[in-house]
Amino acid sequence: MIQTAAKQRSQPLKRLAIHSTSTCSLQATTYAKCIVATYKDVTKDICKEEFLQFKICLREAVRRHILSHYCHLYNTLHR
């Protein structure tokens, strides 16, 4: 268990992959819908607000992920 958690921790991109596709799929879809709506004339930061929400969700998910990992580590060490 620790091994898998550690493996996930060592692969930050994998973690980002999981969170961007499942944990934060709602925010991802909102952002992508905004892009698709304007995809013929996309400029920088045209969907800034939507992306911000997506990013907040990602950050929160990653934070929780790491927190739970350390809790798990702590619990197994102090059992």
Binding site: S20, V36, K44
Partner: protein, 333 residues
Amino acid sequence: MSHLRLSRRLCPFRPYSRSFAAISSNSPPPSLNTVGPYQVFDRNAKMIQRDNAARRQGGAKSRTVDYVRDEVAERMLDRFLDIKRKFGTVIDLGSGPGHFSKLLETDKVQKVIMLDSSEATLNRDPDSEFEVEVERLRGDEENILQSVTPGSQEAIVSCLSLHWVNDLPGSLVQIQKALQPDGLFLGAMFGGDTLFELRTSLQLAEVERDGGISPHVSPMTDTRDISNLLSRAGFTMLTVDIDEVKVAYPSMWELMEDLQDMGEGNAVIGRRNTIHRDTLAAASAIYKEMHGSEDGTIPATFQIIYMIGWKPAPTQPKPLERGSGKVNLKDVL
């Protein structure tokens, strides 16, 4: 304060930071001021990528992503079997671990010479997996005449390798030169709309996040150009056709991981070596929304151009001279 900033900028030693060069130091510099083929791909970086991919987990990673190449190799074999001729030796140019060569049988071909620039890829699979006799030759796919005597080969095949060649017209000329008169060239290469979903998603994400784009997916040869290139290289009796392989992935992340394991990472000269994570996350969202299927997967298109060409020989059938027809087509039709 400004003095400090300046000295830090000039300080050549930065601990723990690895600066990535756009062109690896031991590849030849792109010839910007010389007359010659335009350098698009960093061939040295490509070789390193393919070596690394084939070595990952002792080749296990690379074997799991053989699906595209194996599929194309089988479709190419169909075309090969349509040619009613037996061959003594066939050169498999850019063979990789031998996706196509493994399928050959002894009643058609006696021996295969696999030629590839990546040593690890070339030697990934043991000889026991081949039915025909194999010889492995490490050499540059772009300069086949360095490894092969001109006018010596009965047949040259190439399965999914020519899309990393800088000088495609030149390579085709060299292949033609390496062949005997009436020799066969059969090739398959990625072209046209290959990975257009990934290309467009990354472009949109980069424009919206970073305000600019950089190459992440290689420029591909247009299908329409291939027959021109073949005839320019001096091949006759051309057959060119296109085909698509569509693969479904859970998300963009798995696609990118698999491409890396295939050794098909980005090797365009002047590529940006990092993509910001925000941009990747954005691209993944856009990919799914724009191209995603109803079952939640995302498709990736691989467009394959198959080409057959023959080196001219006096014994080959030729079209009759204009006006030499004896039968009026009007009577026939």
